[in-house]
Symmetry: C2
Subunit: 412 residues, 2 copies
């Protein structure tokens, strides 16, 4: 077995993938395996009794949103009675930021990797404040979610139907030249996204007032594009999964309790260990005491070579997550040590347009003792509160070691 060739094959598939945002549709119409009582969630598999506060909050919110229960107590009762099934987004070609909870009637972005033909999905971004993905589930959270899924979603669906789709790889490439890193900082990407959608929306909007509200929501939310970018990264990573002999990471995801990875040449097995606490900057009134454990599928961005891996493109992010601009450059430089190549489409101006580090090799991670860097939002540890900050976190080294042992057992 030539592992170098296997890894180059996996890397080439990941970087050659061209993800196009094609549609917005209800999850139950397009997400494989979706069921009425199924809730997809971020990270590796987990059951209710081990779920973190924010994950539980999002689960309760989704149960209420779907009308499966009428209040929090009834929702918890339903869950504890085993009437709700949980399944990782990743098991359904999907990804979701933070709690990532996505249910039957929610709208999802559909991204197609037109190079290899696979598709991936992600829910719609809710914006700031009290939102489901951070574990909030008050009535105004669900009301906003309903507006997003019943007003914004269908308008996006109709707008995209009038286009050839949006090239998310090209969008990310441009955004990296505009100070984004594609994970925690998606300001430029969200503006490009809004600018591409606005002329399409103008043609299909039912009335000026609703249109104005939707354009304001998309344009004012610097994370509007995060979810389609995540789906795009998922489509790129999935294209690289399943290459016999490849030690390249194709999934990194957290459910608030465990951090899990999967490896291209090791099938669908998760390697998991307890999550760390993120280190970062907190919103006024909050401290690290309030922080929940690392959570979300958004680490699919780092898996695909952006996010913390492209920090050198995004010096201004330090105002949001801490550190100084040199730290941002150093972060990217360090990630070259544990990756298989440089992304041909994602270049970093201040590194003389060098491609971003892409394709985490579990062998290099273990050998050098350097785990991937991850940028992240920070959720309050309790259900129902929401975001309290943003920062940096590292996955546990144990999961890379465990994966390498499995790799050795499988191939050596």
């Amino acid at each position: 077995m030539d592992f170098e060739i296997a890894n180059q094959t996996a890397l080439e598939r990941m970087t050659a993938a061209r993800p196009i945002l094609k549609a917005v549709q209800p999850a139950h119409e397009v997400v494989p395996g979706m069921k009425k009582n199924l809730l997809m969630h971020a990270g590796p598999p987990i059951e209710w009794d081990r779920m973190s506060g924010p994950m539980r909050g999002a689960i309760i919110g989704a149960v209420l949103y779907e009308g499966l229960a009428k209040d929090e107590a009834a929702a918890v009762e339903l869950v504890e009675a085993g009437e709700v099934t949980f399944s990782p987004c990743h098991h359904h070609r999907s990804v979701g930021p933070m709690a990532g909870v996505t249910s039957w009637s929610m709208m999802v972005y559909e991204v197609e990797n037109v190079t290899h033909g696979n598709t991936a999905f992600s829910n719609l971004n809710e914006g700031y404040g009290k939102v489901l993905r951070y574990g909030a589930y008050a009535s105004e959270v669900l009301e906003k979610l309903r507006w997003i899924n019943e007003t914004v979603g269908p308008m996006l669906a109709e707008a995209l139907a009038g286009s050839d789709g949006l090239d998310i790889r090209a969008l990310v490439a441009e955004a990296l030249h505009m100070g984004d890193e594609g994970h925690n900082r998606n300001k430029a990407g969200s503006l490009i996204f809004t600018r591409l959608l606005a002329p399409l929306i103008a043609k299909v909007a039912p009335d000026g007032k609703t249109e104005s509200e939707v354009l304001e929501f998309l344009g004012a939310n610097a994370l509007s594009v995060l979810n389609p970018v995540m789906a795009a990264c998922k489509a790129m990573a999935d294209a690289a999964h399943g290459v016999e002999g490849s030690s390249m990471v194709t999934t990194m995801a957290r459910n608030g309790t465990d951090f899990g990875i999967r490896v291209s040449g090791l099938g669908d097995r998760w390697f998991t260990a307890p999550v760390a606490q993120p280190d970062g900057l907190y919103f006024p009134g909050y401290t690290s005491e309030d922080a929940g454990g690392d959570i979300g599928d958004s680490t699919i961005t780092e898996t695909a070579g952006i996010g913390a891996f492209a920090m050198a493109a995004a010096p201004a992010i330090v105002t949001f997550i801490g550190g100084n601009p040199q730290d941002a450059i150093n972060a990217t430089l360090e990630m070259y040590e544990i990756t298989l190549g440089e992304h041909p489409s994602f270049s970093i101006p201040f590194l003389d347009f060098r491609g971003s580090p892409v394709g985490i090799d579990i062998r290099k991670v273990v050998e050098l003792g350097v785990v991937p860097r991850v940028n992240t939002g920070i959720a309050h540890k309790e259900a129902g509160v929401g975001q309290v900050g943003a920062g940096l976190v590292r996955p546990p080294m144990a999961i890379f070691e465990e994966a390498l042992v499995a790799f050795a057992e499988r191939y050596l």
Copy 2:
């Protein structure tokens, strides 16, 4: 006379100015001194016989646009008969990119410096390709100009009327954190501009098709925001003009033949000398042989501390104007040598959020032998062609020396 206090006063006025885009209106309704047969142009005063090719082309185009003549020959005849009056935009509280030709019926942005109460104007940006500002005047150029002034302009006017105005200083500050320098690279700023306008336009657009076309035009043009940014810089610079004893530059402008500056403490006198040829990258099929002389009022951006002065914020610009990212950093560092301070609102992430160099001191320029750096578009030297590239240029040292002599005569 304490020149340091005078300069600090001028600098403080320039940086405290807060320019708000308030309205879009026909030039004849708001621009002071506008007349039916008056054409405003970029740079210091100039008459027809000394005008460069692109300036002549834009003059012919504007004469045709206003219906003062029915073809090129008649337009030239009219001009040569002395029936058309020329006047610098700067004499009318206005600025215009490249040829800067602005006439009676064209729409202009109105920017108010709400700190000091002065206003400034700029025409609407025409986008790419064959455009009046680069000296093109074919029928399709005038047709597009008509659409811009008769469809885009009124829609922008109505949209802005439904708002409290757009804070252009805040917009520029944000764009500098997104890889813009505010002169040649206005990608992020134009996206922010489009994103702010879109919800306002949605409320007033007459129909979806027209709205869609306008939003596409604004969003696809990475220079959409250049003209309001220039008007904002003009409003900032004007606020600093006329401070007794100040050696700070408050105007830098080129008409394609001469480069002119004005100094805060030296009244309305222009100091001029022949322009240099820009040095840069050319579009396919063109070389430096095709380049016209340095032209445009857009150097008002460098005058106000952005543009080439903020190059370190915009490493990706080197793909457009030449050089490498380190050159971009060096450009900004050099400009600190000849400026009076650092802009409190315009910070540069990669320089640890240091404020951009602002307030050119003619004393420092002459003493150090360092003239300001300027980013610029490059027009074809002949009338009617258009843009052929983009690059860097320096004003002639002679005008700073001449200004310093005048300063000494006046104050010493």
